[in-house]
């Protein structure tokens, strides 16, 4: 399996709140996204694809993807996580419960092999603890078609106690709108090596590091 080398590129102005302790104002911010641009470039000449969107149903994402001629499958994974594993205090600890983990995987990723031609998982993976995280990534591998792409975001600042949660809305093929949904403690922090290990079953992993400490990862199945 070949892996692309780590590549860093600067992105758009800061979308990451400066005062991490403060409650974020629910004002959307737009930012350029090289990862999103690459994701849509990979499918630009195709139609009737099935795209998995972990952001939950939004008019923007539905309209954008269906206007391209594709079908979208929406699921608000963060909401499913909160409903399955509870509130802030127990959210990570409850992910050690295999019964709840099984329920989460059944409710979120119960699809047959090769069901999707692309997956927009946004920043949801960083709120999953092991072994649920690896089970989820393995499940994504199973349900994605070969040569399809997955886009994921990981906050790169390891010293933050909490990181912002966003609703991700597609504005254009390379522009996102991020609406804050609050703050949450991540289950773990990632560096490039840990991300390569996480996606080791996949064909390739490419990184884009942005000025706002957000690591965009494009993974090829």
């Amino acid at each position: 399996m070949l892996k692309d080398r780590w590549r860093a590129e600067t992105g758009a102005p800061v979308a990451y709140p400066q005062n991490r302790g403060a409650v974020s104002a629910a004002k959307p911010q737009t930012r350029a996204s090289h990862g999103l641009e690459q994701f849509f470039s990979s499918i630009q000449d195709e139609q009737n694809l099935s795209i998995l969107d972990f952001a939950g149903a939004s008019q923007a994402n539905i309209s954008f993807i269906t206007t391209l001629g594709h079908r979208i499958y929406s699921n608000d994974i963060v909401r499913t996580l909160e409903e399955t594993f509870g509130g802030d205090g127990e959210f990570v600890a409850n992910q050690a419960d295999p019964v709840r983990c099984g329920k989460f995987l059944r409710e979120s990723l119960d699809f047959s092999e090769n069901s999707f031609d692309g997956a927009l998982v946004w920043d949801t993976l960083q709120f999953l603890a092991q072994p649920l995280l690896q089970d989820t990534v393995d499940r994504l591998f199973h349900i994605m078609r070969p040569q399809s792409y997955l886009l994921a975001f990981f906050h790169a600042e390891e010293k933050a106690d909490t990181i912002p949660l966003y609703s991700y809305r597609i504005v254009e093929s390379k522009v996102l709108s991020l609406t804050p949904r609050g703050q949450r403690k991540p289950a773990q922090y990632f560096n490039n090596r840990s991300l390569e290990k996480l996606f080791q079953k996949f064909n390739s992993v490419k990184f884009f590091l942005t000025r706002d400490h957000l690591r965009e990862v494009i993974v090829r199945r």
């Binding site: 849509f40 630009q44 099935s50 939950g56 149903a57 939004s58 008019q59 539905i62 309209s63 954008f64 269906t66 206007t67 391209l68 001629g69 079908r71 979208i72 499958y73 929406s74 699921n75 608000d76 909401r79 504005v171 254009e172 093929s173």
Partner: protein, 185 residues
């Protein structure tokens, strides 16, 4: 309760108002306890309504607009009409209609030949097939969305284009009339 209009037999549209019952004295004109419009079988009377205390298990077929504010388990079909799932409505059913407005909860696959409108606080779990979809922020949806565009508009689809308004082809053009309220946003 079922709307009484569903159970009574009404005179034909062109006919006069219903005659007074034979045992009523002539000097007391018949008094209707229901609004006069309810005795007419025209579309202007409004949609049929399944109230919030009603629970139905089975199949519902309707040839008029229908509002469901109760519970339905089974299937609902209104091919040329609008279905409104009210805020108290709970459907565990497959749904087919010309237009579907969801303010309550639907668990099942949904097919609308024209449009689906999912309002804030609504909940829809299931696969959607429709020509147009509007979903408000705050609505919960989980499932797939297939936009069934007419052939003439497919070639014009470009990235970043504004959504959903599709131009019907002459062969299947339909007049969309909303009986009440403007769902267009």
């Amino acid at each position: 309760m079922w709307n009484k209009r569903k159970e009574e037999e009404y005179p034909p549209k062109a006919g006069p108002a219903p005659a007074a019952p034979a045992n009523q004295p002539k000097e007391n004109p018949p008094m209707s306890t229901a609004p006069a419009a309810s005795h007419h079988v025209s579309d202007s009377r409004g949609p049929a309504i399944i109230g919030k205390s009603v629970m139905i298990k089975g199949q519902i077929f309707s040839r008029e607009d229908l509002t469901i504010d109760g519970e339905v388990e089974g299937s609902v079909e209104l091919h040329e009409h609008r279905l409104t799932v009210g805020p108290h409505g709970k459907l565990q059913a497959g749904v087919k209609a010309r237009e579907i407005v969801v303010l309550g909860s639907v668990h099942g696959n949904v097919e609308a030949s024209d449009k689906i409108d999912i309002r804030k606080d609504a909940r829809l779990v299931g696969d959607i097939k429709t020509a147009r979809i509007v979903i408000e922020d705050g609505a919960y949806f989980k499932g797939s969305i297939d936009i069934t565009r007419p052939e003439t508009s497919k070639a014009a689809a470009t990235p970043g284009a504004k959504p959903m308004v599709s131009t019907p082809s002459p062969a299947n053009a339909a007049v969309v009339s909303a009986p009440g309220g403007d769902l267009n946003r």
